[in-house]
Symmetry: C2
Subunit: 428 residues, 2 copies
């Protein structure tokens, strides 16, 4: 056998994902040597506590609580980061790149919020910046966007990219359970964090969408431009009514580009039940794309978990180790976005509107009038039997309408006769 090329790596962080990467590297050591001619040596692992024993089997002697042991060691040429959160991870990554170390990160927050700085540091020294694991774990969506889809003008990227909320919505949908009960259960099962805010309010999906949309649309899509609304206001009633009308509810991350106008938004969304994304249940993730040449495409798999995420990290480590010239995103990733582009928050979509109305003659005419005045046209209406408080639930699906027209219509409704219980966007 030829002599192996040794790659000396430092880890930043060692939680579930870091432990998974350690185990996968150990587990694949022989194959990586035989197939790729590489020997990957982890020299130092930055942790908070060097005393805590790690389940994954990392030798205690590799642990350090001094970042310089990783960032300033000239023997370490590659840094793999799984600390999560913006700070201090982003600062460490920038230092690593400035010191010429290639970075492999699973950290969507640090990347989404600091991409231009990271890329500038990488370009200065020629170091590589790899982040397949930052979006949807093992699913090779970053690789596809940077690789074979480069030949496309992508108009749509839509995804179920948060497993926690998909698990919650799938259970609410299948068993008619309430949000709070399912969330509590998901927390017990370790499928939701003790503080679930980042998942259930859509932050997590918005970070990932910012990264995917930047690559898909070849322009920086800053996190701040991504509208996000969570699932905390969703009730089992909404889901049941939607289902009766042929829809499935998902927390969807949506990026669209039409000419020079881009919209990026994360919100609960009704999808037709035969849409490919509607079939993606439980904690699975999936990304659906449309390009002018490739047409429709969907990539589906495990978007989280220690080994699926480690699969992407180790894939990046191997790619980086086997590359002479690191490939950068093919767009000008500066703080400024492409000045020719406009981000709109006045997208056009269909809406599911559930109202609670008093049971009197003329109510329907009044409601319909408010929509018509705002230029919103109704496609379907469903009236459910009278509820216990004597009010009548009215459900509408609109034709495609502008977000602002829709909001204006809602403001026109007379609170004395009806009020909106929920408004949920509908995609085709």
């Amino acid at each position: 056998m030829n002599e192996l090329k040794e790659i000396v790596i430092g880890f930043l962080g060692c939680g579930n994902v870091g432990g998974g990467v350690w185990r996968l590297l150990e587990n694949m050591r022989e194959e990586i040597a035989r197939r790729d001619g590489l020997s990957i040596r982890v020299k130092k692992v930055l942790v908070r506590s060097v005393k805590k024993v790690r389940d994954c089997g990392i030798p205690q002697g590799l642990l350090t609580d001094n970042p310089d042991d990783v960032l300033a060691d000239p023997e370490i040429t590659m840094v793999a980061e799984f600390m999560g959160g913006e700070h201090p991870a982003a600062d460490y990554l920038i230092r690593a790149l400035e010191n010429g170390k290639t970075v492999v990160t699973a950290n969507k927050v640090a990347l989404a919020l600091n991409w231009p700085k990271l890329q500038a540091a990488a370009e200065k020294t020629g170091a590589g910046l790899y982040y397949e694991a930052s979006v949807c774990g093992a699913i090779p969506v970053i690789g596809a966007l940077r690789g074979s889809l480069e030949s496309n003008r992508i108009s749509n990227v839509m995804g179920i990219i948060n497993g926690t909320t998909n698990y919650i919505l799938t259970r609410m949908s299948e068993q008619g359970e309430d949000y709070a009960a399912v969330l509590a259960d998901a927390q017990r099962l370790g499928l939701a964090e003790p503080d679930p805010t980042s998942d259930v309010e859509g932050f997590d999906a918005a970070y990932k969408l910012s990264i995917m949309a930047s690559l898909a649309f070849h322009t920086r899509v800053p996190f701040e431009k991504v509208f996000h609304e969570g699932i905390t206001g969703i009730t089992a009633i909404d889901i049941a009514c939607g289902r009766e009308m042929g829809y499935v509810l998902k927390l969807l991350a949506i990026g669209k580009r039409s000419g020079d106008v881009v919209e990026v938004r994360v919100h609960p969304t009704f999808l037709p039940k035969d849409h490919p994304l509607s079939m993606v249940g439980g904690s699975f993730n999936a990304v659906y794309l449309k390009g002018h040449a490739c047409k429709e495409m969907m990539l589906q798999g495990r978007g989280a978990g220690d080994l699926p995420t480690a699969s992407a990290v180790v894939g990046d480590i191997l790619e980086a180790a086997l590359t002479d010239k690191h490939r950068m995103p093919t767009f000008s990733n500066t703080e400024e976005t492409d000045s020719a582009l406009t981000f709109t928050d006045n997208w056009t979509t269909r809406y599911f509107i559930r109202l609670s109305a008093v049971d009197e003659p003329g109510v329907l005419a009044s409601v319909a009038g408010c929509f018509a005045d705002a230029g919103v046209s109704i496609a379907t209406m469903m009236q459910k039997g009278r509820s216990d408080d004597g009010r009548v639930p009215l459900i509408f699906i609109t034709h495609p309408a502008e977000e602002k027209a829709m909001q204006a219509a809602l403001r026109k409704l007379d609170p004395a006769i009806c009020h909106p219980e929920n408004v949920i966007r509908v995609e085709e």
Copy 2:
């Protein structure tokens, strides 16, 4: 703007795909220049007839019927091939690689049957060998297998990788139509070739499986090792009976590796109706993978068509043009397969068996006895009402059994009392 790097390309062939590649390169010229700093110039296009006017708009002056104009021109550093078929395409590709030209091919037949020779030629000169378009058009399955899945031990790769047969089976399934009628219709619509043999007999899928399985299992899986059985014997009755039992029929390409034993087979297959591949209808393609780290994954999209295939070809052209060191498959791709591996044709799976039996007491006992004697255990039995000829249709689903045991059981059946109408394998 920085000066562009010019890449001079020759085309081998110019049918639908070649025309699509030309149009896509023209259509993306400005983006490719701006994003990638590249100018792709097609210098010569090898065709059968230089007089035929091409719809795609290739200038007549680029056409040649002399292969040397492409293969021997030192200015041409990259060759893109869309001739299809083994000869003379493979010979041209080998010559191109021997002359140091990087090859981008959409030709599954030439690749599957000549991969070791192609790779040896590439290794000799350091030229690149790219073939994303050879399997499933725009779906980035080759990229995923060569890229982020490199960190996995893949145990399963299963796919619907022939759009023609999926279209036919979907229509037979949804509308209860007969094979011959749907095939004729598909031919009228241009979805099946005038000679449909390669698609409907499973050759096309077997070539593609040979390529995918080689990459997934990191060993050469020769085409000759791939068992293949087509869909010509499938009737609307089989599909309807399977559906009653909760199954959907697909022409499936299946590669499995367990330890050092590999099985590779293409045949009509019943899948549970909630399997992710069961939802893939019409002319869509999809590949389902299982790896020890990534877990389950599915990639779905347009597996054929001029622009989807061109999307993959142009993706490869860009990747090759931006790479300094071409990445080769990380396995020893010689004529010999890995000697530690065994290919088995005695796989274990479940079977759907549809028998036509005489309507007499004791028939069921006799049939069940034949299965039991061969060690095949029955999981489900369904008896349909008597048919017009006074015979009784009996349908069995077996527990997992070895292929050879199953064949032995069928041979034991007494032709005086029953005969098999069809036997279809079942995957979970």
